[in-house]
């Protein structure tokens, strides 16, 4: 599957480039742009990032594989992230994790067959005072209870 940036995204990349004195420094924001357009980072997408920025492919690959928010495999339409770190754990984070696992029938980093859901057990998301929490794609849901989790997952269509 070939990958080309859309015209609109090429303009975004140009704007991003201006923030930094080197092309390499723009690699993180440009990876985000590619991931948003393509859903995940295929080899072709990474090659295209390298060619657009004029950096080595290995630079792109090394960054993509270092950070947890870049995905080299397609994730679900709803990427559900449950925090089980200490503050969440103290307030029932693992119960929420088990509940979500059971409800979606998925485990850590698995994607449902219809590609609707993917699940990730994440490290601290910075919501410790509002624990337990989960995030769906970019949105945080805090102060969770069992009922709230049901409601949230049911609302994802």
């Amino acid at each position: 599957m070939s990958f080309k940036f859309t015209e609109e995204n090429l303009k975004k990349i140009e704007a991003v480039r201006e923030k930094y004195p080197t092309a390499l420094a723009a690699v993180m924001p440009v990876i985000y742009i590619a991931q948003e357009q393509n859903g995940y980072l295929s080899n072709e997408a990474m090659e295209e990032i390298a060619s657009v920025l004029g950096v080595d492919k290995v630079n792109v690959l090394s960054v993509v594989t270092f950070y947890t928010m870049y995905h080299t495999k397609p994730m679900g339409k709803y990427h559900v992230q449950v925090c089980t770190n200490v503050s969440c754990m103290l307030r029932g984070g693992y119960q929420i994790w088990d509940q979500v696992k059971g409800k979606l029938g998925l485990d850590h980093m698995q994607v449902s067959e219809d590609s609707k859901f993917s699940l990730e057990e994440v490290e601290c998301m910075g919501a410790c005072g509002y624990a337990p929490m989960l995030a769906v794609n970019e949105d945080y849901f805090e102060n969770l209870t069992k009922e709230k989790v049901e409601e949230i997952l049911d609302s994802l269509k």
Binding site: T22, M28, Y67, C124, G129
Partner: protein, 440 residues
């Protein structure tokens, strides 16, 4: 009570309210002075970094070379990934303009033309909020080329937001710089320090979001005012993020040196169900934990906490009640540091894994009393033997949790050795040890 970082003014996060309450007046005042005067003012105020190390902010600024042909940079660290720490997002949400104003003053003081605000990638919502605020400030002419006219000064600077992508290690200042440069977030060997060799090899200062947000207030009210708030050696207010088994968890701004018991019992509404406290981690998960029966009189500032064998860290207070299983907590902490170790230094890369595995072995009921010593031993061999402080951060909770709660951990292990030998890291410790030692 004075609130500096999160003032109780309604809609303070809108530009009109911010301007009506003296917004950007401090920047005007600062830009009419010389950079050295600003650095001196901040130095005298006693402001110490709020990112964990509690280093003097003014002193840090003064390390920036005065005469150099190289461009200088300011990085503002909003990576905030320490478990238990969630204060920066409150600033992004409630007081974005004071943060931006602080950044302008800091840039002027150190002579930086560009500031990067590094925000962790998971904070999509808060990144959008900050970007919107930055755009408004540009529009109003307080940033960019237009600020020359606004302030009637030759100085101008830009502020860019850099979005992280999920790596705890990028909160470490040198890996944060690598991350901005578009590299893997590996920490760099120091020296050279960032003030000499930072972003792209240029002089760079890295400050925490909360530290920078304090700056406009110091410029506005003067160093004497600031130095009289809270603990004399660590003045000002601190944003305490309280989580765990308390009735009212959240972020609270209080003077430094506030009693820990007051913070938990009065401000955070006490422990849920009036239970006793077993353990408190006072500054985010990497700081040494305190015993619940030794909290009386503990004050929340850098020096007082050091005296009782812990540290202020990022002010993320985690409270655990008497029913908490500390082994489970420690396994979770060990897992976190194993997961987040960047893999550059062997002691940290391997040691964090060993500690997690050994703790899990204890959880399965196969641990012995010796394993507890083994864990402390591994922790000691990580501590101080790595490029960055993640090694220490991984070692401290294990070492101090086991030492300070040995009585509890002894309950989880069998008293004598039941594991088949050889499994001891002890015997691998030092190849220089005499042979008869190894055979013991």
């Amino acid at each position: 009570m004075e609130r500096i970082v999160l003032p109780q003014i309604e809609n303070f996060n809108t530009i009109d309210v911010y301007l009506a309450n003296g917004g950007f007046e401090s920047a005007k005042k600062a830009l009419a002075k010389t950079p050295d005067e600003i650095i001196d003012e901040v130095k005298k105020s006693g402001l110490r970094g709020r990112g964990g190390a509690a280093f003097s902010c003014g002193l840090k600024w003064s390390f920036m070379p005065k005469t150099t042909s190289k461009p200088k940079y300011l990085c503002i660290n909003g990576d905030e990934s320490e478990p238990g720490s969630f204060k920066d997002r409150q600033i992004f949400e409630d007081n974005p303009f004071q943060l931006i104003e602080g950044a302008i003053i800091a840039c002027y003081a150190i002579g930086a033309k560009v500031a990067y605000l590094y925000i962790r990638g998971e904070y999509h919502k808060w990144i959008k909020m900050m970007q919107a605020a930055v755009d408004i400030v540009y529009e109003k002419g307080f940033l960019g080329e237009k600020m020359k006219e606004t302030f009637g000064n030759d100085f101008s600077c830009d502020l860019f937001i850099h979005k992280g992508a999920g790596a705890y290690i990028c909160g470490e200042e040198s890996s944060l710089m690598n991350s901005i440069e578009g590299l893997r977030g590996y920490p760099r060997v120091k020296p050279p320090f960032p003030a000499q060799n930072g972003l792209w090899g240029n002089p760079t200062t890295i400050n925490n979001v909360e530290t920078i947000t304090n700056i406009p207030a110091i410029i506005k009210n003067g160093w004497e005012w600031f130095s009289k708030i809270g603990a004399p050696k660590h003045p000002g207010t601190i944003l305490f993020g309280i989580s765990g088994h308390v009735n009212k968890p959240g972020v609270y701004e209080l003077p430094s040196g506030t009693l820990l018991t007051e913070l938990i019992n009065d401000v955070a509404g006490g422990v849920i169900g009036n239970k006793k406290i077993k353990c408190v981690i006072p500054g985010g998960s990497s700081m040494p934990p305190l015993r619940g029966d030794k909290l009386e009189g503990v004050k929340m500032d850098a020096d007082s906490l050091r005296e009782v064998g812990s540290a202020i860290g990022t002010g993320g207070v985690m409270v655990m009640d008497e029913d908490t299983n500390l082994l489970d907590v420690l396994i979770r902490i060990a897992h976190f540091y194993h997961h987040e170790s960047c893999g550059q230094c062997t002691p940290c890369r391997e040691g964090t894994g060993w500690m997690e595995k050994t703790l899990k072995r204890i959880k399965q009921g196969n641990g012995t009393s010796e394993d507890l010593d083994l864990l402390c031993d591994v922790a000691n061999q990580i501590e101080g033997n790595t490029i960055c402080a993640l090694g220490d951060a991984a070692a401290w909770p294990v070492k101090f949790m086991i030492t300070r709660f040995r009585d509890e951990f002894e309950q989880y292990v069998k008293p004598e050795v039941s594991m088949p030998v050889p499994n001891k890291v002890h015997s691998m410790r030092s190849t220089a040890a005499p042979l008869n030692n190894l055979q013991k």
